[in-house]
Symmetry: C2
Subunit: 124 residues, 2 copies
DNA sequence: CGGTATCCATGTTGATACTG
DNA sequence: CAGTATCAACATGGATACCG
């Protein structure tokens, strides 16, 4: 009548409202069209400059990127580093340790996205 | 020239653009403020009616819920079941097997959200 | 280069009312 | 109950120009 082995966190009814609120919190900070993408590119590159970053992310405008970066910085996912010793001043963005805690989320999303794409292709 | 053991998908530079595009695909279908929440509630309940669902999801309006459900149905995450034999007609929404493939994503987001909330509290 | 300011088009949402 | 229609309010986003 009962599973003897629990191999992964099951989605139980009790857990679920908790789940819901945690997922809500997560979506609140890393949701939206761009945030995770920026975080991924930043993790890929170690350090990257504004225009380079903009070029890396298809379709984002300077204004939106600028706003997103401010947001991400406030929440501790990104660090803005200014090299004032160079002229013209060089600004670099780097990902933080905290942004690396998102790795499991990124992996899960990436894997799901990959199989989803496969599924979509099969249906045509 | 080939890895003999792959123990977890590492975030490497080569993998990353692939990552990026997969995550993009995922966000495209399950992104936004409501979709994942609806999916979670549906998975929790097995079957649930429209107004019940609306009450379960804090702050969503009937119009938005209706649109989201249509979208989710189109993408195979939700099934709309009409019990025409009852008067007035009862409509129930149930989650599909395909929506269950999102379990790892939900778990990852939920766990991250939980520790994030903890972190935020500590900083005050 | 690394942004910001402004304007404007478009999209999204909320409130309310209404229907079968 | 299970939505839909309508309209107004607001948010978001692109385009362009501009600045230090």
């Amino acid at each position: 009548m009962e599973d003897t082995v629990v191999f992964e966190e099951p989605i139980t009814a009790q857990k679920c409202s908790e789940n819901l609120s945690s997922v809500e919190d997560a979506i609140y900070v890393i949701g939206g069209k761009w945030k995770l993408k920026i975080i991924i590119v930043l993790q890929e590159n170690g350090n990257i400059r504004f225009n380079e970053l903009q070029r890396s992310i298809q379709g984002i405008s300077a204004r939106v990127l600028s706003n997103e970066l401010k947001d991400l910085e406030l929440n501790g996912f990104v660090k803005r580093v200014v090299h004032a010793d160079q002229i013209p001043v060089v600004v670099e963005y780097i990902s933080t340790d905290y942004s690396r805690t998102l790795k499991p989320v990124i992996i899960a999303l990436s894997q799901w996205g990959k199989t989803h794409k496969r599924k979509i292709k099969e249906n045509f």
